[in-house]
């Protein structure tokens, strides 16, 4: 049975009619119409659906949309004007840190939140963080280089 739920996504309020078992990832894509959030494994491993819930990274596939009433969701679309995200996008572009691009939104959302908190973004710390996001194309080397190039200018600001 469907129920009315008020979701706040990227600062905009959406009244949606959904069933309790609808995953946030599906509601963002199919009901709200924001398709940057990608759906990969639906078991929390691949990281393609990572969004921010109250500014903290979370798997949209492991969250029910109905739980999000009263919380703020940010998708990659909502980070369009975020300077750290923009720097990451530029670095990914310059260093060939994506190929097919399916996983890229999850990487950008995870990294943009992490870089705002990280005090010591060493190569090992970046690799540890990125174990939570799978990329089947790049082999990660270029992604790590792109992150470190942004970290050098963005961290500790």
């Amino acid at each position: 049975m469907k129920t009315r739920v008020t979701l706040t996504v990227n600062g905009q309020v959406h009244d949606v009619e959904i069933a309790p078992h609808y995953l946030l990832s599906d509601v963002l894509r199919d009901v709200v119409g924001l398709t940057a959030t990608h759906v990969g494994c639906e078991q929390g491993v691949c990281g393609a659906c990572t969004v921010l819930v109250d500014d903290r990274p979370a798997r949209a596939c492991l969250t029910f949309a109905i739980q999000m009433e009263g919380h703020e969701i940010t998708t990659l679309e909502g980070l369009r004007d975020d300077p750290v995200t923009q720097a990451l996008q530029q670095a990914f572009h310059e260093r060939h840190a994506l190929q097919c691009g399916f996983c890229t939104p999850g990487f950008l959302v995870t990294l943009s939140a992490w870089l705002k908190e990280a005090t010591d973004p060493t190569p090992a710390a970046v690799r540890d963080l990125l174990t939570g996001n799978l990329c089947r194309c790049t082999g990660y080397q270029n992604i790590v280089e792109a992150v470190l190039s942004v970290a050098a200018t963005e961290c500790g600001r």
Partner: protein
């Protein structure tokens, strides 16, 4: 895959939660961080009729240190435990274990109450709670009771909570000065479930030898094994370079390991020996700022 339909209840207060749990009994499954439950729902390995969401319950979100106990609310998330100043100061092992669970995004949502009651035999918090002899404070409309985690943990994925009970808090005794705790976790893939893990609590005597020793081993999908009196033969031993390997060899020899789908018994035994050697070595190592 997608989960099967369920009825959703958002607990508005601890009292509301206890009433829901009393009414729904076993069919009212608690949705805490959801980082293990929701994959099981998505795979339809679990199809509860009712989910009770406790994510907004501030009554279950607390961290205190007093009277020799570190008290952590059931809804405190792994990332907060890993970074909380009180946990880091009073119980670095618990903070360290929290920092190693799954992935960064998983740690933002997963909770200690959820992890302990799921009772996955290879998970980090069950190992830490067994080592530290932590106590769980359980609540229901009938009242409150405190149960040692070692007694509550019946078997893998099976804790002795009553149908109407919820976890309110976890109590970790703050280790006495001089007690060192170390853990070593072995993964085949980073962030995945550990294949084997060992945690040790060791107090050294004045000469740097062993005064007290407790080890917990998780391997082969078995209930984590607490070794205490079994290690009495090592009390008073050392300090000696061969001691960690001797303890590890003894531990591996008495564990009832069997072949599993992931690894044969001989391999698990070698991993256990390695984990135990590493963490006992670290627990015995002199540290800057401490008397030798």
């Amino acid at each position: 895959m997608k989960p099967a339909p369920f009825a959703y209840h958002r607990a508005q207060s601890l009292d509301h939660l206890l009433r829901l749990k009393a009414d729904l009994r076993g069919d009212g499954v608690i949705l805490a961080g959801g980082q293990s439950l929701v994959p099981m729902l998505n795979l339809r390995l679990s199809r509860p009729g009712n989910l009770i969401d406790i994510n907004d319950l501030v009554e279950l979100d607390h961290v205190h240190a007093r009277d020799g106990m570190l008290r952590i609310g059931a809804m405190v998330r792994h990332h907060r435990i890993a970074t909380h100043p009180l946990v880091r100061r009073h119980h670095p092992l618990v903070a360290g274990m929290a920092s190693m669970i799954g992935y960064h995004a998983i740690r933002q949502r997963g909770t200690i109450g959820g992890s302990l009651t799921l009772a996955d035999p290879s998970a980090h918090f069950p190992l830490a709670a067994m080592l530290c002899d932590a106590t769980l404070v359980l609540r229901s409309t009938r009242g409150e009771r405190s149960v040692p985690y070692r007694a509550l943990y019946l078997s893998p994925l099976n804790c002795a909570l009553e149908d109407d009970e919820i976890v309110r808090s976890v109590l970790f005794p703050i280790p006495p000065p001089g007690c060192r705790m170390e853990a070593e976790i072995f993964h085949l893939n980073h962030g995945g479930f550990p294949l084997a893990a060992c945690a040790v609590a060791l107090t050294a005597d004045a000469r740097g030898g062993v005064a007290t020793l407790t080890l917990v081993i998780a391997a082969g999908g078995l209930r984590p094994v607490v070794l205490d009196r079994e290690l009495d033969g090592f009390l008073g031993a050392g300090p000696d370079a061969g001691l960690p390997a001797a303890i590890a060899g003894h531990v591996a020899a008495i564990l009832p390991l069997e072949d599993t789908a992931k690894a044969p018994a001989a391999y698990l035994s070698a991993v256990v020996r390695r984990c135990a050697t590493l963490c006992v070595t670290r627990a015995l190592a002199p540290r800057a700022g401490e008397p030798a």
